[in-house]
């Protein structure tokens, strides 16, 4: 039962804290006298003017001078003593009372020197540091609790925070003062403090991480510091500026910092002045972004502190395989096939783990629970290894339950164990190793990718079964790792599964992954001699989450920043910044999806997409506009995240340009016509053909469509003649169009969010032709198609999922004539490469168009006509050598080809 006294006390505490918060909100800030806190009423007590700023330095130099004088005096007394000693006949004199008490002046001075030394110790402890430590720094929780309890006694006293500000902080205050004075402001405002902090070393570090240059911020900040009333004389700290300094103190105290430094002032100034936040927001850095960077800088400081603590504790862990109680036994065979992770951690080879508190807690709890052995299940790259390494570090620091105390964590290299060639030999080895582990009694086994034990199970021999039976009897703990697929395949339903407690390790979300990257990027920076900006880390995390699907966060994002660091160094040399664009470039290369910011060239291309498409597509205005609009939406990042870029259904008779539109888009936007995954749906007419498309369970090759999209996620998927496919296959695409993903036969999820899905269909052709002939409007034809004609071919939910259903109208004679021009243009281009000209008379084009026009087949017969009447003649002329370079080939009004010889040169 809870002690009533304690409860009452807690309640009182709670009330006191609430009152305090209330006070902080109202009185303190409003009247600008100070901020109530556990230390008392916080105020800024130091005067700020030229004299006092200089006086700080004078005081420091006076103290240094004083200490130096004392030290020199002390050394002199020792020297005099030694002089006297060497004057003696022998050093033995030291042992005689006469030497000490004879009254030699040097010996007397020596005693004075000793007294002086004590005084020096005192002075160095009390006066060598200008900055006082914040009360509570490094104190025990009992002390802090008592301090909190007695807060009321101090509430009425002023507490001057200025002695707790360290040199970097004072430098900021001093330069803010100089800034305000030089600009003749009537007071030192928050912008002055901020500008001073920004130009300090801390500010430079901050800007570097944000990825901003000081010059870019100069003008807007200069505007801010010039605002406000002007005045001569010595500008005092404004109320807001004092509030910033006081909040900086409060912040430092809450974060258990030793002193108030420049970074706290910087951050508080930023937080408290909305104008400063606006300035950053304007150049593309919202406040959260800036605050994240501050977290990063603090995280680094914290990691350093943790490291110091770890090193101290690691000294206590034995260096050898022997535990401290010396109950262990030599394990020669195990040592050959394993790595001692605790030893690696002790030597500092393993990085600390960031986050993952829940999983670590679950892991330790499972070990404590009694059944003891654990299996961690998570996708590749989620950080199972990091968890094991984190556990090794915890074991080194002995920050673990009793089951793991004074033990070592040893990771067996399974492939090496089973690489015996002979399965029996492998098993023998494995069991001998387990025997060693059992006898030694101080070993926790880590088996990474535990499914490898099952892999060797040819015939009756299976190491996993062996391990399971040993676990049933043996007093040792195993921590295994595996992926969810392998868990269900090799572990779950077997006896090993029943012996292991499952701990799931889910993928990190991008925000948590950012923290991991922040913690890990130091080593990469050091290796490549570059610096990461926050934006690069954020982009790497967010984009890899969105576009890379083979591995999980944070591993894939770590890979990205590793490569981005190399890229930045190669492009811009050492000490360069890794920018968000570097990270985006790496993602682009890995995923084949352009994720960089839209460049000038590209936006031009997007804006003029209709024009470009029109050069290839004749007479289908509605289709061209719909496609261009969808592409612009996609690149401006306005589309819904979880669907393909666009889903189109092109309806219309054959030969009117449906496939051609898809090809034109592929060429125009996706780089080339080959960036199109074309699936002839007529090949998928029965239900079993679905396996060909998405692959079959157990067949690692995957399906035709899924593999193509996996390798090339940024492309056009053209489903030709979709009405011919089996209805089950159409159902498959319902999910693709809605969720932008498809699970293939192997169980991989394929991302379809970067494809443009285009389905073409001839369904309702007759109806379209009839209606067009009658002169019905295209919109009306479309409505009628959807309401009546297509009902037989497609289900309504299928049609509903298309972003646009575009009806391609039959081509008119005019259209065909234009297409003829286009096709002849291609011949002209080919001849140009051979150095020849090509000219076609208008009448010849009309003749070809006439012959190639067919209301039923659109422009398709035209290709054949051009082949017969133009290409054939041309081939004859070229083969006979009738045309030479510089000649012009002319197709005359009767459709006959002639060669016009070029005039001789000169």
């Amino acid at each position: 039962m809870a002690d009533p006294q304690t409860l009452e006390q807690q309640e009182r505490n709670f009330d006191a804290q609430r009152d305090l918060r209330e006070l902080q909100r109202t009185e303190g800030f409003k009247e600008n006298v100070g901020l109530p806190s556990v230390d008392g009423l916080l105020v800024w007590g130091a005067p700020i003017d030229d004299f006092h700023l200089r006086f700080r330095k004078i005081r420091r130099y006076t103290n240094i001078g004083f200490h130096l004088t004392l030290i020199i005096l002390s050394v002199l007394t020792v020297a005099a003593f030694l002089y006297r000693l060497f004057q003696q006949e022998s050093i033995q004199a030291l042992w005689t009372a006469e030497f000490w008490f004879a009254g030699y002046p040097e010996v007397t001075l020596f005693w004075l020197g000793l007294f002086l030394d004590a005084f020096i110790i005192f002075r160095l402890f009390e006066y060598s540091q200008d900055t006082k430590r914040i009360p509570g720094w490094g104190k025990s929780s009992v002390w802090l609790h008592h301090y909190q309890e007695t807060a009321k006694e101090r509430a009425n006293f002023r507490f001057d925070i200025s002695p707790y500000v360290d040199d970097s902080g004072w430098e900021v205050v001093a330069s803010a003062f100089r800034l305000a004075k030089n600009l003749k402001r009537n007071e030192i405002g928050v912008p002055h403090l901020f500008a001073a902090a920004l130009s300090s070393q801390t500010g430079a570090r901050f800007l570097m991480r944000v990825g901003l240059s000081f010059d870019r911020m100069k003008a807007p900040i200069a505007d801010l510091i010039n605002k406000g009333a002007s005045g001569d004389g010595i500008p005092p700290l404004s109320g807001e500026a004092k509030r910033v300094l006081i909040s900086a103190y409060e912040n430092a105290r809450l974060e258990h910092r030793r002193h108030v430094t420049a970074i706290e002032i910087f951050l508080e100034a930023f937080k408290q002045d909305e104008r400063i936040q606006e300035v950053f927001n304007q150049v593309g850095y919202p406040p959260e972004h800036v605050i994240h960077v501050a977290e990063w800088i603090k995280l680094r400081a914290k990691l350093r502190e943790d490291h110091d603590r770890f090193v101290r504790l690691a000294m206590l862990k034995p260096k050898s395989a022997m535990n401290r109680s010396m109950t262990a036994r030599a394990t020669p065979l195990l040592d050959r096939f394993s790595e001692d992770l605790t030893l690696s951690a002790r030597s500092g080879y393993l990085a600390p783990i960031v986050g993952r508190d829940r999983e670590m807690g679950e892991l330790l709890r499972a070990i404590e629970s009694g059944q003891r052995s654990v299996i961690m299940v998570g996708h590749r790259g989620v950080g199972k290894q990091a968890l094991i390494e984190g556990l090794a570090r915890k074991m080194v620091a002995e920050d673990v339950p009793p089951e793991l105390f004074d033990r070592r964590l040893v990771s067996i290299n399974i492939p090496q164990v089973i690489a015996a060639g002979d399965a029996c030999l492998a098993a023998e080895r494995f069991f001998a190793i387990l025997q060693e582990v059992k006898l030694s009694g101080n070993i926790i086994l880590a088996l990474q990718n535990i499914e490898a034990l099952s892999g060797t199970g040819s015939g009756p021999l299976d190491l996993a079964e062996g391990l399971a039976s040993e676990l049933g009897r043996g007093p040792f703990i195993v921590i295994g790792t595996t992926t969810p697929e392998n868990y269900s395949k090799y572990v779950e339903r077997r006896s090993l599964g029943s012996r292991l407690i499952r701990v799931d390790v889910p993928e990190l979300n991008p925000d948590a992954a950012i923290r991991v990257l922040m913690a890990r990027c130091g080593a990469i920076e050091y290796k490549n001699k570059v610096f990461f900006t926050f934006a690069s880390i954020e982009r790497a995390s967010v984009l890899s989450d969105r576009y890379l699907h083979d591995r999980a966060l944070p591993a894939k994002a770590l890979d990205v920043i590793r490569e981005a660091a190399v890229l930045a160094r190669k492009k811009r040399g050492e000490n360069a910044f890794v920018t968000a664009e570097d990270a985006a470039t790496i993602i682009h290369d890995k995923a084949n999806v352009p994720v960089e910011a839209v460049s000038q060239d590209e936006s031009q291309k997007l804006l003029q997409m209709e024009d470009h498409l029109h050069q290839r597509i004749i007479g289908q205005d509605a289709a061209v506009v719909a496609v261009a609009q969808a592409m612009r939406r996609a690149r401006a990042d306005l589309r819904e995240g979880k669907r393909p870029i666009a889903n189109f259904l092109f309806l219309g008779p054959t030969g009117v340009g449906k496939t051609e539109t898809a090809k034109a888009l592929a060429a125009e936007y996706f780089g080339s016509e080959t960036n199109m995954i074309r699936v002839d749906m007529s090949e998928y007419q029965d239900a079993t053909s679905v396996y060909r498309m998405i692959g079959q369970a157990g067949d690692e090759r995957g399906g035709l469509l899924t593999e193509a999209v996996r390798k090339n996620p940024f492309s056009i998927v053209l489903l030709d003649e979709i009405e011919k496919a089996h209805p089950d296959i159409l159902n498959l695409f319902l999910q693709v169009m809605d969720d932008g993903r498809l699970t293939d036969g192997v169980g991989r999820t394929i991302d379809f969010t970067n494809v443009v899905l285009i389905a073409t269909s001839n369904a309702g052709t007759q109806f379209i032709q009839d209606e067009t002939r009658k002169g019905t409007e295209l919109e009306r034809i479309k409505t009628m198609l959807l309401e009546q004609q297509l009902k037989g071919s497609f289900r309504p939910e299928f049609l509903n999922r298309f972003d646009a259903i575009i009806v391609f109208k039959p081509l008119s004679k005019d259209d065909v004539e234009q297409i003829t021009w286009l096709m002849l243009g291609r011949i002209e281009k080919q001849l140009e490469e051979k150095g020849m000209g090509f000219r076609v008379e208008d009448a010849a084009v009309a003749l070809l168009a006439e012959a190639g026009y067919d209301p039923l087949f659109g422009a398709r017969p035209l290709r054949r006509v051009i082949q017969d009447r133009v290409d054939n003649q041309l081939a004859d002329i070229l083969l006979k050598g009738e045309a030479a370079r510089r000649d012009t080939i002319v197709l005359d009004r009767d459709g006959v080809m002639k060669v016009e010889k070029a005039p001789p040169i000169g």
Binding site: G45, P47, F51, H52, F55, I58, R59, T62, N63, F66, W100, F101, A102, G103, Y104, P105, V107, T108, W111, L112, L114, F115, A118, F119, I121, F122, R123, F125, E126, Y127, M315, L316, R324, S325, M326, T327, A328, R329, A330, D406, L439, S440, G441
Partner: protein, 125 residues
């Protein structure tokens, strides 16, 4: 708010001269406390490094996994010897620290006393 004269006066009379008066007080209060705390911490660290707790807990557990009779016998004997050895070591260290603390306490008055004695003897001689 402090004036210029006030600041300089504080530097001279409080920081420099005043510290002479503050010194003996500090030496036997705050200074001594600091010293004792660090001695205590160092001893604690030593005790952890010698792993007394673990050794006492495992007193009858045989060393090197030798579970036979002779193994157990030798092991208990060895543990006894090692514990005694480590006990002696920690005692010696504690004594050294204690001497340090005594030296701290005695140093200023003793040094001063001997200084005056030396001075007096010098004059008499």
């Amino acid at each position: 708010m402090k004036t210029r004269v006030g600041s300089i006066a504080q530097l001279l009379f409080v920081d420099l001269i005043g510290s002479v008066a503050w010194f003996p007080v500090w030496w036997y209060t705050k200074g001594l406390q600091m010293l004792l705390q660090s001695v205590f911490r160092a001893l604690q660290y030593r005790v952890r490094a010698y792993a007394f707790g673990i050794w006492i807990k495992n007193f009858f557990v045989p060393m090197y996994g030798q579970y036979d009779w002779t193994g157990r016998l030798i092991s208990v004997f060895m543990r006894f010897v090692v514990l005694i050895g480590r006990g002696i070591a920690i005692t010696v260290i504690a004594w050294v620290y204690l001497l340090g603390v005594i030296a701290w306490v005695l140093l200023p008055p003793l040094a001063l006393l001997l200084f005056f004695q030396g001075g007096a003897a010098g004059i008499l001689n």
